[in-house]
Symmetry: C2
Subunit: 256 residues, 2 copies
Amino acid sequence: LTHSLTLTAIPRIPHIRPGDDVARLLLRALEEAGLALQDGDILAVAQKIISKAEGRQVRLADVEPGPRVVERAGKTPKDPRLVELILRESTSVSRLRPGVLIVRHRLGFTSANAGIDRSNVDPDGLEGEAVLLLPEDPDASAGNLRETIRAERGVNVAIVITDSHGRPFRLGTVGVAIGVAGLPALWDRRGEPDLYGFRLQHTDVGLADEIAAAAGLLMGQAAEGTPAVLIRGLRLPPGDGRATDLVRPIEQDLYR
Amino acid sequence: LTHSLTLTAIPRIPHIRPGDDVARLLLRALEEAGLALQDGDILAVAQKIISKAEGRQVRLADVEPGPRVVERAGKTPKDPRLVELILRESTSVSRLRPGVLIVRHRLGFTSANAGIDRSNVDPDGLEGEAVLLLPEDPDASAGNLRETIRAERGVNVAIVITDSHGRPFRLGTVGVAIGVAGLPALWDRRGEPDLYGFRLQHTDVGLADEIAAAAGLLMGQAAEGTPAVLIRGLRLPPGDGRATDLVRPIEQDLYR
């Protein structure tokens, strides 16, 4: 009767290169580790390997910052070419202070530097300094992973593509969902009774974000990083959401 | 060689009443479930049972709202007595809009309604409507739990007292740590090499918050709620932090 949840770091995932088929590489790594996927499993996959496979590396030498960007970049110690890329990936600037550039990403997420990361880009792949943009459409990437796994192995798994975000009022980064397939990203519990029969006040649970944060515990453990985690035992509510369901609509943003 | 993490909902925890010894009730529930604590285990405990045991229930009929509070409460559909309690528990108001009262709690956390919850307060315990305040000092509560368990069973466990918070830019609540003992709440990874030898850019991981979010996956599963979760298998970095380490200092708050 005990309800347990197991998270397993998938070992020996190879370095991912542009054009790689992440679904098949994950399936091979799982099988080499003796792990067979089951219906209801969740795979949490770090954004970085999806972005790399999708060829989202950009060589800084190829970026020409516009004049408005150079002016803005002067307010940060950042490379103007990086600021140009951040602004290209964004719809608005949330906060600009020395050393801080928090934007609303075109996907809706508010985070530092539009999720662009200088670390972990394979220097072998591109000459000179390179950075990695978020996937073009991480919900679609998650859907593709799910469909490929269903086609290859006949199992019905959910996918959460994760990134690490800082928070406005709390220190430390935590895992968040930027792509979702096969589960509700936001779990509407409105009207369910609580322990004493009152209706629950907090009606929506950030389910996919809690999954991403849980996976972050294992992704951050090894010095060399763990880009994918298998989660088994969670009783998922029905539904098939998208990570963009987790974006607070701009008209509900109290901190503009 | 596979690295796994297991989370287990601790079954059959009784309803908690003021004055109850939560440590001994958890130990009894664990043993009845055949679960023996081990060094390095983490217990995630919902704030509600700590607050109840510490007698933090307040009967609304006993609260006299001040005139400034009545004026402010007029801007929300909330009970002025509840607004009085929220403001007493807070050091400043972050956002006040119709239906929204986000404050900086005296413990430093920015959240809705100072963490005061109308649900799950045992109506048998107090006549009339009652609400539940956060523990007086949740880090101390976590430390007490840890010390009692060490004294009773000779094991060295870490404690995370959890609550659910909304987020400014994302929908859905997620588990967060409001009390910590026996682990670093914030994990400083500055200077550690990433996959390709670059230094990590995101230096601090909100470790205790990721643990709280992971536990939230099980705490939210049963309709009747699961107020405590055993987490086993996480390789904890050394250190003994406090949940207040997760509070972004006011001078670093970009969204005041």
